[in-house]
């Protein structure tokens, strides 16, 4: 069972983030780290490959400036190798442009299964993986909270508002996993030291045979027109308990129509 995991490398959410005032997009110049959302996909892929009795876990990432920091973290967790697509022509890519690039890599490495996160932490449109599946002509199953594989199919418990659906799909397929689906392992020291010598293949848009007019600013159909600061959160209402706190809280919940 060869599993590919889409991993996004993002600016550290705990650090200081800024938007480029001319494009209204996130500045991605400094060090990028593994998106926490994708650590679940990596862990899931490692577990699936182990339970299938072998096979490789390969990471796929598109990121600026040849960034590999986040990939090294996932390699230290145990992935066998990575493909990184990095190219100035990709600046400004929207989710569809990103999906095109990821699809070209998937076609190149031909995995049995592709995992991605339900949504990324920084962009969180949650649209890349399904567009990737569409471009590949593969089935996609989203919001997986439990995944099992057989040699030719994948069985998924798909999170719904009420509970979960059981979905079975033929392979190859694209599956997106929710946060918390598995407990991502910490990289061990051996894993960290081994990550150094694992292969990271770096490709450009032309290596993948993609027309540059279909990616980056040139191909983007999405434009960030304006950005506004989020409204400051109102300070909460403090209920002092004089024996009637429960009534006040129920009254409040009724006012905001939760009850």
């Amino acid at each position: 069972m060869n599993v590919a995991v889409c991993v996004k490398q993002i600016p550290d959410p705990a650090g200081e983030l800024s938007l480029d005032p001319s494009t209204n997009t996130l500045v991605r110049e400094g060090k990028l780290i593994l998106d926490d959302s994708d650590s679940y996909g990596v862990e899931m892929a490692l577990q699936l490959a182990e339970s299938a009795g072998g096979g490789d876990v390969t990471l796929i990432s598109m990121a600026p400036n040849g960034e590999t920091s986040g990939l090294r973290t996932a390699l230290a967790m145990g992935a066998a190798g990575a493909v990184l697509v990095s190219d100035d022509a990709l600046a400004g890519s929207d989710a569809l442009g990103t999906a095109r690039v990821l699809a070209a890599v998937v076609q190149r490495i031909q995995p049995d299964l592709v995992l991605a996160a339900t949504e990324s932490t920084d962009g969180y449109t949650g649209t890349t993986p399904v567009q990737l599946a569409e471009l590949l002509g593969w089935p996609s199953v989203t919001f997986a909270k439990h995944v099992e594989v057989t040699p030719d199919s994948v069985a998924v418990r798909r999170q719904t508002e009420a509970g979960y659906d059981e979905v079975t799909s033929p392979l190859p397929a694209v599956v997106t996993v929710t946060a918390g689906v598995v407990e991502p392992r910490y990289p061990s020291f051996k894993g960290i030291m081994a990550a150094r010598s694992k292969p990271v293949e770096e490709l450009t848009v032309s290596d993948l045979g993609i027309d540059v007019s279909r990616v980056g600013w040139a191909g983007a159909r999405q434009e960030v027109v304006s950005v506004q600061a989020a409204e400051e959160r109102q300070s909460g209402e403090i209920v002092t308990d004089e024996g009637d706190a429960h009534e006040k809280i129920v009254g409040y919940l009724e006012r905001i129509k939760v009850l």
Partner: protein
């Protein structure tokens, strides 16, 4: 000169910060209060191979250096759960066994120390021989091809968590100088004739200190580590790693305190703007930040020197001194920044005072470091 950590060191730092961050200072406080140990944290670090990063791979270690172990030690402290046993078990004991142990002793002890499965305490201090190790009176005498150990050690950390203690004992006297000839022994904590009594101290930490009494304690011949009579020289080989870990704990506590203080000073508003706006608070915090970063720089230099076989004594002593002072200043200023909350258990600062303060005294006192610097760096006459 390249001051950047390697990518592996960065990943190590991140991974340890993640593990320790998952426990955090509330875990440390809870264990300290309930008399528990930070076992879960210790084993999480050990299982990931982080307690043996500096030991050879053939004994289950990570094959890197003391610099990597200082990263582990500092990150754990920076997460608010300092582990003093890192100074002792991996830093001194495993280092000494790796350097001076027989092949059999290495195979027996290094893998479980590297994995954290076993812990070893270190006992040199005695009631009448603290700063002056030449006066050690705990004695090992030959008994056939075995040894018998008699004497008292005190302020020995973590004996209740350890399977064994590396004990520095007198095995003879130098006839010319009258000084002790010392040797190192690995003593099991469940040996007959081994008694440990707890010393109450005002340090709110899970790790405890003990007085040890050895009463005619039998030691098989394979318990002698290295060369008989060469113990003091051997111990010196473990002191730099210990100082470096002491410095790492100080740097970690300093970072922890400043992170908290800065976050608080950005948020808390008394006169309609964040208190961090007032230079009366901002400058002392900035000063403390400078001190912590300078200590970290000296720590990095000392660790690099040690790992590259460059004499690390001066840098290790200076790093230990600077880190202890920086930790105390940072913690004090962090408490001041928090106003009354600085003393509250909930804010997790005041309870670290004892831990930070002990770094000025142990593993080597501030004065003994200044003696070293005066004598070796400034070539001033020795006073003792």
């Amino acid at each position: 000169m390249d001051f950047r950590p390697s990518p592996e060191q960065e990943m190590l730092k991140e991974a340890v910060a993640k593990i320790a961050g998952g426990f955090g200072h509330s875990y440390f406080q809870l264990k300290a209060r309930e008399g528990g140990k930070q076992d879960e944290l210790w084993h999480a670090l050990g299982d990931a191979g982080f307690l043996g990063v500096h030991l050879p791979e053939r004994y289950g270690g990570g094959g890197m250096g003391i610099a990597e172990l200082t990263i582990v030690c500092e990150e754990v402290a920076a997460a608010g759960c300092p582990l003093l046993l890192i100074l002792v078990s991996p830093a001194i004991c495993a280092t000494l066994i790796g350097k001076f142990g027989s092949e059999e002793q290495r195979q027996r002890w290094l893998p479980p120390l590297a994995s954290g499965e076993k812990r070893m305490a270190f006992a040199i201090t005695e009631p009448d021989a603290g700063s002056n190790s030449h006066r050690i009176s705990t004695t090992a005498t030959r008994d056939g091809d075995e040894w018998r150990l008699n004497g008292t050690k005190y302020y020995i950390s973590g004996v209740d968590e350890a399977e064994a203690v590396l004990v520095v004992a007198r095995t003879g006297t130098d006839e010319q100088t009258g000084r002790a000839k010392l040797s190192l022994f690995v003593v099991d904590t469940d040996s007959p004739g081994f008694v440990a009594t707890h010393i109450p101290v005002e340090i709110a930490a899970p790790e405890k200190q003990f007085t040890l009494f050895f009463d005619n304690l039998p030691l098989a011949h394979d318990r002698l580590l290295g060369t008989e009579g060469d113990g003091l020289h051997q111990v010196f080989a473990g002191l730099n790693p210990e100082r470096l870990m002491g410095a790492a704990v100080g740097c970690g506590i300093g970072r922890y305190a400043l992170d908290k203080a800065a976050a608080y000073a950005r948020e808390r508003s008394v006169w309609g703007r964040p208190i961090g706006t007032h230079q009366g608070l901002a400058h002392p915090l900035a000063e403390a930040k400078v001190e912590v970063e300078l200590a970290r720089l000296m720590l990095a230099k000392a660790a690099w020197s040690y790992d590259n076989d460059v004499d690390a004594g001066e840098a290790a002593n200076m790093a230990k001194y600077a880190a202890a002072e920086a930790a105390l200043h940072a913690l004090d200023q962090a408490m001041q920044t928090h106003g009354g909350n600085g003393l509250a258990s909930e804010y997790g600062l005041a309870d670290l005072w004892g831990t930070a303060r002990l770094l000025r005294t142990a593993p080597v006192s501030r004065e003994m470091i200044l003696n070293f610097v005066a004598q070796h760096s400034l070539h001033l006459p020795k006073s003792y």
